[in-house]
């Protein structure tokens, strides 16, 4: 299966890219998802301050998501003020 990851704001800088496709063998839960990220990025997206959108919809509890084939997961750090 194929899953698209999207990194916004400074997470893009940390990831080194804005988008990435991963190809897991089966649906992923949160721990399974972050395993596909480098350890620094995994730590960053794990922060309570980083929100997650699944197929363009904000999820209430990112730790409870299930990611299926064709899904798009966006990692959203706090928005900038000013």
């Amino acid at each position: 299966m194929k899953v698209k990851l999207v990194f916004l704001g400074r997470l893009e800088e940390q990831a080194g890219y804005g988008f990435a496709d991963i190809s897991p063998d089966s649906p992923l839960d949160w721990p399974g998802l972050v395993e596909h990220l480098g350890s620094e990025l995994a730590g960053a997206v794990g922060s309570e301050k980083v929100k997650v959108a699944l197929n363009g919809a904000l999820v209430a509890d990112k730790y409870a998501i299930t990611v299926n084939d064709g899904d798009e997961i966006a990692f959203l750090p706090p928005v900038s003020g000013g």
């Binding site: 999207v6 704001g9 197929n55 966006a74 928005v79 900038s80």
Partner: protein, 147 residues
């Protein structure tokens, strides 16, 4: 009438306000807020990034909340995304109402929420280096006024 736009190229705030006002002859008062990229402080450019599936829908949702909360004749919300240079307009909010207080409060509320809750990530270029702009404590205070 609500007009909510996310633009990726520059716009002319004076002309937008002219058109907005001309369309609302029954409104007695129009309050607007224009935010522009400040000149000075060594800032060479400002970049706003957004996330397509969320950013415009959230702006539209905010406009709907404003319309429920105040009696308005019209509401205009225009926000830029992309790379901007000093003096370029970033955001224009205008609220037209029969009563002045409604127009002021609606524009003020919309700006506080656009600033602190809308899905934009900003970075600025200073001395050739880009740096991300963090959330500001002031923005949370501003938004807290409406709770």
């Amino acid at each position: 009438m609500s007009d909510v736009r996310l633009l990726t190229s520059s716009f002319d705030p004076a002309e937008e306000l002219r058109a907005f006002t001309a369309a609302l002859p029954m409104a007695g008062g129009i309050v607007s807020f224009l935010g522009q990229v400040r000149e000075g402080g060594g800032i060479e450019a400002l970049e706003l990034r957004h996330y397509d599936p969320l950013t415009l829908p959230a702006m539209e949702g905010l406009a709907a909340r404003v319309r429920v909360r105040w009696q308005l004749d019209g509401l205009l919300v225009i926000h830029r995304s992309g790379v901007l240079v000093p003096r370029e307009p970033i955001v224009l909010v205008a609220a037209a109402a029969r009563h002045r207080r409604d127009a002021f409060a609606a524009a003020d509320f919309a700006m506080d929420h656009l600033k602190s809750e809308s899905w934009f990530w900003k970075r600025e270029k200073v001395g050739g280096e880009w740096r991300w702009i963090e959330p500001r404590a002031q923005d949370f205070e501003d938004i807290g006024r409406w709770r």
